[in-house]
Symmetry: C2
Subunit: 662 residues, 2 copies
Amino acid sequence: MSILKRALALGVMATVVGSAGLACENKAAKEFAKSQNSGNLGASASVKQLMAARHLTESDVEAALKTFVPPGKRDEYMIFASGGQSGQILVMGVPSMRLLKVIGVFTPEPWQGYGYGGGSNKVLADGNQGKQAISWADVHHPNLSETNGDYDGQFLFVNDKANGRVAVVDLEDFSTKQIVANPLVGSDHGGAFVDPNTNYVIETSQYPTPLGRDYAPLSAYKDKYRGVAVFWKFDRQKKRIDPSQSFGVELPPYTQDLADAGKLGSDGWAFINSFNTELAIGGTLQGKPPIESGASQNDMDYLHIIDWKKAEALVKAGKAVTIKGMKVLPLAVSGAEGVLTLVGEPKSPHGCDVTPDGTAIVVGGKLDTHATVFEFSKIKQLIADKKYEGKDAYGIPILAFKEAIRGQVEIGLGPLHTVFDDKGNAYTSVFIESKVAKWSLKDMKLIEKLPVHYNIGHIMAAEGDTVSPDGKYVVAMNKMSIDRFTGVGPLYPQNFQLIDITGDKMRLLSDTPIGIGEPHYSQMIKIDKLHPRQTYAAGTNIYTGERDPNAVEGGKERIVRNGTTVDVYMTAIRSHFVPDQIEVNEGDTVNIHITSLETAEDTTHGFTINMHNIDLSLEPGKHENVTFVADTPGVFPMYCTEFCSALHLEMAGYVLVKPKGA
Amino acid sequence: MSILKRALALGVMATVVGSAGLACENKAAKEFAKSQNSGNLGASASVKQLMAARHLTESDVEAALKTFVPPGKRDEYMIFASGGQSGQILVMGVPSMRLLKVIGVFTPEPWQGYGYGGGSNKVLADGNQGKQAISWADVHHPNLSETNGDYDGQFLFVNDKANGRVAVVDLEDFSTKQIVANPLVGSDHGGAFVDPNTNYVIETSQYPTPLGRDYAPLSAYKDKYRGVAVFWKFDRQKKRIDPSQSFGVELPPYTQDLADAGKLGSDGWAFINSFNTELAIGGTLQGKPPIESGASQNDMDYLHIIDWKKAEALVKAGKAVTIKGMKVLPLAVSGAEGVLTLVGEPKSPHGCDVTPDGTAIVVGGKLDTHATVFEFSKIKQLIADKKYEGKDAYGIPILAFKEAIRGQVEIGLGPLHTVFDDKGNAYTSVFIESKVAKWSLKDMKLIEKLPVHYNIGHIMAAEGDTVSPDGKYVVAMNKMSIDRFTGVGPLYPQNFQLIDITGDKMRLLSDTPIGIGEPHYSQMIKIDKLHPRQTYAAGTNIYTGERDPNAVEGGKERIVRNGTTVDVYMTAIRSHFVPDQIEVNEGDTVNIHITSLETAEDTTHGFTINMHNIDLSLEPGKHENVTFVADTPGVFPMYCTEFCSALHLEMAGYVLVKPKGA
């Protein structure tokens, strides 16, 4: 009988009656057993009754009490999870796993007025590449900004695998402030990872293309196709990536995958794994093997080791070439100067994680059964000694696998991603087996395997990839949820499973469906590290962080016509707009400058004009500018889209577009 | 001491020891009290310990055990909530309140491949009005299809307040199949409500415009601006709205608000409330009162009563005029024929709810303190007898308020929306007081008021607006969440509060943040009424429901060139595409026809081509067609965006666009 079972059977009595109550306890236990058999649990609303009514086991009760956040109470941790194909970031609370916010990042998000006429339009437009506007992303790996290897709660970076882009989210207001488009790559994967002081945001290509994406036939794959690791310089003062100070490191066309930056003793280095070092390009229609088999021939792929401080110095010294406006350190330079070194890693890896102490890199091979631990000091020494096993076809030195590792731990089939706790343990997702493997980094021994449901991809732990993991929680990010949730049609949600890691044994606490895109990766930060603002200073343009030059004060609202341009200086306050009647002529260019005069938290207004695809969110103090051409004559109601007061429906007005000749 | 408190203090012992254990019970109780004072809860992992560790009260424990759905277990009910400005529908489980899916409806949703190149593009395009493509919505009131006044679990309808549109979601696969654009209105509000057999989907305008939205100055508001109630004919066989069989009923320019259809004895009738019967149009820049005060002058607004069966007959008899392609029954005809009748209703109403037995309509006035119950039989008799109090300026007959009501119940300031349980009780949201008021419909008496947090807008109950409510759960849909959740910046989530209504007293169970748009309205259906499919038949085009003429069989993949048009017949199966190399010339029109050959549930693939804003979701069996012009030469990886297997990263290929002259 488990401790909990006993406690439940006897209630808390056993813990309070002490030795004087033992006789009673035994009697009660017997009576309880009897009633259990008779199925009679009595009439009072006890825990036992609630359990019976909802068919809860003792384990369920424990999980319920460990995850329930009572009405009005706060969560302990916040998750920032990639929103996968949604293009967004999901913000969730732990342990409740409630979805607190979906941050619009790469995809227009109307609730936030993101991409519907205001200042955010430029953020999204900056992410376009070529002729086609891009209005979505395959968001993969969000990373929180770090100071000295610990989350500082200031910024979040995330990459778009589908279109090779990186976004900057400011955690002051949980909104996206910048998207930078990588001009070199067709897709990225190993991003957006930061170094321990967020000097750089690392973005590594996935599927090789000629750098710059110019045409070259697939027959030129080996010669002309390349990978690249871009180091985007982050300017903390300006709160933006500075492309002019950023650079790329050219890589061989081994399909680069995940990346991580060194920390503490390994700071200044980056590690990237790769698959398809076979250079398979498929050709299924011609009867050739698909990439999935072509890329799985070799037992080893290559872990890429980059000395990014040296790369930075070489770029500064003028050793880079410029491709499509970006400085790129050529492969030949990197190979010769020791910027890039390779070492074998187990087949088809998908996880490259530097340990909290910075001394090791853990790699999981999807077609392997081990967690492989590379020892950074050995790698560094081998490179310093130029002790290579050989060079690849591109002249890049290769270290001997056996000389570079601390060891390997057999954990099961399909290990992917590894996170850490505060007790020297590692937790690795094991995709094919659908398990979380807990193992000791110190002892290099498997401790426990917990089944998850199903096909876990990435895994996260509370601050589990910083220099000081918190332990406490692990979340399994499962790809399949076949029998876990109520049916919602053929497209199934993913399943986040919250796991308590405080005890000797891992304990599965809850399942959370994710029905809004497939999250790939996430981080979990302690709530007290975040200090978001509640309102904005009056008239703030959130993209400059300053008072907008067109901000409007109450009483100074006006409509100014200049030829066929109409500037409307407007305010919003519960529950009306000034002006609430805007009449323009067909063909006019209309600039609406609108300031929320609200100052109290949670007093958001919205602003829309029917049929114009304009939709703004005006949090307290915020200012927005929106321009449209009045090309359709007619009557168009405008209104506040937030239920801001009992008279919110009355917070409305009209835009009238007078037809030509009327 | 509450029953639960006592049960917790004594565990289940009190329920099992019977009279023989009474002495023990008393002793245990005393010991417990002592231990409580000393703070010593003992060492075992009991419920009490879990409570102490997480500062949970007895009430919290009860709430946790009533809401926790253990890993792998299913929810009892499903909520379909409007996604507000997100333009989408939120699907949630009850009692867990977990978000199961966000259904893409009016806004492109890339996870579902909704609006990114496939068949869904046409669904979204059909919702455009005029020159500007509209890519969002202000989703207000989802309604489930009904058969005999009960949810049948087949379809969901929802309206877009911002642009006057209605969408049809098929619950066979939880995807949006149709958007119809209302050519008459600038915005709608009273929709999408269905009659008890889903003959019609009702959509009522909100802010008046000239019907058809043509220009008329605001000075012509009284004469030329109008409201309209559109009855969209739903064809259950075709699973679509049939605009050709739909019609509108012209209404005076009283800002129409919410609507409901009669049921049982009141079937064939519709009820719509209104505000701003004062016809206020603002003019804030000119120093005139804003609409919020102009519209709040009169003590009464008008409940609109529509005999829609008569309207339908008159339209069939040729009494309608056609405006912008839609048949509209003119105001004069409706007034003269008894199709439209008015009756006073309390100031600024926002809730118009027919009782489960169909005998009454409950109205809440936002600036009033009552739930007002109109008696349908009285209304019907007054209309039959043509016993009017007078007529409005448009010749529409008005019934005497006192003769039309059953009575009023004083429930608090700011009543909005009313739902029902299975015991004859009503639950009304009280916005200004932030309360749920429970009152007896039979006794017309207030029973209880429960504080909610904060500013509740709409309210939902388990099947609470059908002919047979389930009781059990109520959800308060609160607009403000000031101090309820961890901060996520100046834009706060809304707060859904789950309330247990099975006991004598309402009991608040949980808070759920909604950080993805402001839901306005929702419905809650028993899980067993839903029968979604898990996969599609091979090659299904989900918009025709049939095998697509371009569906591809395994082994029959091919690339067919015809001049500058290239047709690619493609398949997807774990973990490769056939073909995986597509080479075209700059300027070619490329049609990709892609079929998923998967047959097992939850084996979804995605498909994207870098830089082309193409993104498809290929659930098992699904077929999609996507066309693009190869206008940018270069190398563009394509890949599967779902983590479909251990080799999902290898499920990739290339689109090569050869430059002109190369």
